[in-house]
């Protein structure tokens, strides 16, 4: 992103919790000796107290970073992962114009990342029916946490970024985001890298048998939001098809063992290597992503950019970002039978796979090009900076 923003005339520096690259344009957020241990210890205490991102004091040290001091605008991403104390935001926003991308609805709820079918986040939470959802609570403090978020966000001069209209609508319905400016900027990706070319080579590298139809699946069994159980149920009912099938999975291994002997199962496990992930998209003939909650759906646009039709559930951002039913194929939420029929339909209709795949690629070129993403961000940064100066 740094290069793409530079092309738009924006220089940027990343302050990160975990620095994975050698790049000098990113710096660890808190390098004070002992701060990691303190964060970990306080994290345990927070879990015991059923609060989250509330007690971490290191965030108050951010203004001492040179990159923060030099910035015209500060853009926050995924600051609710436990290392950042949200109480610092009012101070930080007084010092610098502030943008916060909401990657999921956690800022709008009393504790959960996704409220699923619960609507209590619209009325202040409390009496939480799903304390087990991440970030889980031992005792129900969802109402108190909700009020705390509302107070903090209320004090912050803030522009909120979301990646889909689905999230924008949630923000509009949220008492926490009331009176805040919400901007919809879909994420982007490198369309030269994510392209339909190289299918055969990718299949060879992944060990897919010749003449197989490949169904790509994210086997995220441990997540309550990814809907993998519906894929298993759908596959059970698939019956005999007119073509041999390979099921290509990422994330958790061994979740489709019951289909050994029926289909070829290729479990890639947790993939850290971008090139393997790219191969997985290229090798697939269709991609099944039945998330029960999603704020955007990066994997769906990656699959579409590689020219693959995507099957999703209604009721999340996915039907919007895949342009279902015209391009993506959506089925009613939680309906395994409909999911099974959609899989079978695409397996047995090559021309429809090709049509939807090509349309998905075109959609990715129009909406999800990372250069377009960078341009939209640059425009927002200029707008927020100018607005802040105007107010001063």
């Amino acid at each position: 992103m740094r290069e793409l923003l530079a092309a738009e005339g924006v220089s940027s520096h990343h302050l990160v919790w975990n620095k994975l690259s050698e790049s000098r344009s990113s710096t660890r957020l808190f390098s004070i000796p002992g701060s990691r241990l303190l964060t970990k210890t306080l994290g345990r205490f927070e879990r015991a107290m059923s609060v989250h991102s509330r007690l971490q004091p290191s965030s108050f040290s951010i203004p001492f970073h040179r990159a923060f001091r030099d910035a015209d605008v500060v853009h926050y991403h995924i600051i609710h992962d436990g290392y950042f104390g949200l109480n610092a935001l009012p101070l930080l926003s007084r010092l610098k114009p502030t943008i916060w991308t909401w990657h999921d609805p956690w800022p709008m709820t009393g504790h959960c990342i996704y409220p699923l079918d619960c609507a209590r986040w619209k009325v202040g939470c409390g009496d939480c029916p799903r304390l087990d959802l991440p970030f889980s609570m031992r005792r129900d403090r969802s109402s108190e946490e909700f009020r705390w978020k509302q107070r903090v966000v209320g004090k912050v001069q803030l522009d909120i970024v979301v990646a889909s209209n689905h999230m924008r609508k949630m923000a509009e319905a949220s008492p926490i985001a009331r009176d805040k400016r919400v901007h919809v900027i879909p994420f982007g990706l490198d369309l030269e890298k994510f392209s339909p070319e190289g299918k055969d080579a990718a299949r060879r590298r992944l060990g897919i048998l010749p003449n197989r139809l490949v169904i790509g699946v994210r086997a995220f069994f441990s997540s309550p939001f990814k809907g993998f159980e519906f894929v298993v149920e759908a596959l059970r009912g698939l019956g005999k098809l007119n073509v041999p099938i390979t099921i290509l999975t990422t994330h958790d291994k061994g979740q489709l063992n019951e289909f050994i002997g029926t289909h070829q199962i290729v479990d890639l496990g947790w993939v850290n290597d971008d090139s393997v992930m790219l191969d997985a998209f290229k090798a697939a003939d269709l991609f099944v992503m039945p998330s029960t909650a999603e704020a955007f759906g990066m994997m769906a646009i990656e699959a579409m950019a590689c020219g693959k039709p995507v099957i999703v559930f209604d009721g999340t951002s996915l039907s919007e970002i895949t342009c279902a039913p015209e391009i993506g194929l959506s089925v009613p939420m939680g309906n395994s039978t409909a999911l099974r029929d959609a899989i079978r339909h695409l397996v047995e209709n090559k021309s429809e796979r090709q049509f939807r795949g090509a349309a998905g690629r075109k959609l990715a070129e129009e909406r999800y090009d990372d250069r377009l993403f960078a341009r939209r961000l640059a425009e927002l940064y200029r707008f927020v900076t100018a607005d802040s100066r105007g107010r001063q």
């Binding site: 060990g207 048998l209 010749p210 291994k253 061994g254 063992n257 050994i260 002997g261 199962i265 479990d267």
Partner: protein, 397 residues
């Protein structure tokens, strides 16, 4: 020139290490070899008659296994004391006997097999006592052996340091794999020669490079079970698939001392231990795929990288494709990949190993290519002629 072989397993037909040792002994001209064997009293090696002329003295090996691994202070202290006692009290008499025997035989060189702590502790002193050049041989990394035998951390450090010193003072080293040879040459500066179990060219088979029949699939497995987790995954995957691959009924044909776990009787053909020639014949004529499990465990990385399963030459001689179920960094995996002689199954899980079977059954071109690769690999690398050349270079002939 007369070489004294210091070993813990004599040349013998019923022990894998004994078979290779015998092959190596046969490369030495008559009258130029004597054997001092420090043998585990629980083993009953069957000696070869053609080597009966070789002078041999057998003495019992002290127990090397420390029972009951654990972290309790009493257990740790007793393990350290027991091992230290063996080091201080039991090695010197063995060294003296070996030196005495070597002198009697007028040995001019020492060939020592460094398998286990006793042999490592003896070797340097025996070479020094005899005043002859030392040539060492390594089957498996010592670290693995010490860990498997419950040797404490203190004695492990001492033994590994002693192993390093022994390798450094050796004039040549015989290793279990190509990678071990490369690594030891780099680390110790000792000229190293990979010496791996080999077979007579006449035992090699050249079956037609395709599955034997339409209805069933025979998976062959010969030798020891040293990768039980991997084996269990194979058995589990076949059980999940209803003991069929692509509609073919699966039979697992096992040649070895142990009956394998997890295979129902109707899918198991247990042949017991078979002499090598017969084993090759059975694997070639009655099996389609030859299975070689190898450990994925993090604690076995060094073994996988440096050792070489002795069943592989036998499999290659049988001329059928190998399904290697082990990590990609294993020396055997690299070898089979280079020679296009086996399908490498790089993940331990059930679906991965079943996928390997599926590839070999469904892809006839792949099967043919790997079967022919196996036949060629045997003739290139594992004939007795190749072994003899390597042994003679190792022993300085």
């Amino acid at each position: 020139m007369k070489t004294l072989l210091l070993t813990d397993i004599p040349p013998s037909s019923n022990l894998t290490a004994g078979i290779v040792t015998a092959q190596m002994c046969r490369c030495i001209p008559p009258g130029e070899l004597a054997i001092f064997c420090v043998q585990n009293p629980h083993l009953h090696p069957e000696l070869y008659s053609d080597l009966s002329h070789v002078p041999m003295r057998v003495v019992p090996k002290p127990n090397e296994l420390n029972a009951g691994k654990g972290r309790s202070p009493i257990r740790c202290a007793s393990a350290i004391l027991a091992e230290t006692y063996r080091r201080m009290q039991l090695i010197t008499p063995l060294v003296n006997q070996a030196v005495e025997f070597g002198k009697e035989q007028r040995a001019t060189a020492l060939w020592a097999i460094l398998q286990g702590q006793t042999m490592v502790r003896m070797t340097g002193s025996v070479a020094q006592g005899l005043g002859v050049p030392l040539r060492t041989q390594v089957w498996d990394p010592l670290g693995w052996w010490l860990s498997a035998h419950g040797v404490d951390a203190f004695n492990t450090r001492l033994d590994l340091a002693l192993f390093d010193r022994t390798l450094k003072r050796s004039v040549s080293c015989a290793t279990a794999s190509w990678e071990m040879a490369r690594r030891y040459e780099r680390k110790y500066g000792t000229i190293s020669h990979p010496i791996i179990a080999s077979l007579d060219q006449s035992t090699a088979r050249k079956p037609e490079p395709k599955l034997r029949c339409q209805d069933d699939l025979a998976i062959g497995m010969a030798g020891q079970f040293y990768a039980s987790d991997e084996w269990n995954q194979l058995a589990w995957s076949l059980s999940l698939a209803g003991w069929q691959v692509n509609g073919r009924k699966v039979v697992v044909r096992v040649l070895g001392h142990q009956k394998p776990p997890g295979v129902p009787e109707e899918h198991l053909d247990f042949q017991g231990w078979q002499p090598q020639t017969r084993a090759v014949e059975l694997l070639s004529e009655t099996c389609d795929i030859l299975y070689c499990p190898y450990p994925f465990k993090a604690s076995m990385v060094e073994v996988a990288e440096l050792s070489f399963p002795s069943k592989i030459p036998t499999y290659l001689a049988a001329g059928r494709p190998i399904l290697f179920h082990g990590p990609k960094y294993a020396n055997a995996a690299r070898y089979l990949e280079e020679r296009r002689a086996g399908f490498i199954c790089r993940a331990m899980e059930a679906d991965a190993v079943y996928d390997g079977l599926l590839h070999l059954v469904e892809d006839q071109d792949l099967y043919k290519c790997l079967a022919e690769g196996a036949q060629n690999a045997f003739h290139s690398d594992f004939t007795l002629e190749r072994l003899s050349d390597a042994v003679r270079r190792f022993l300085g002939y």
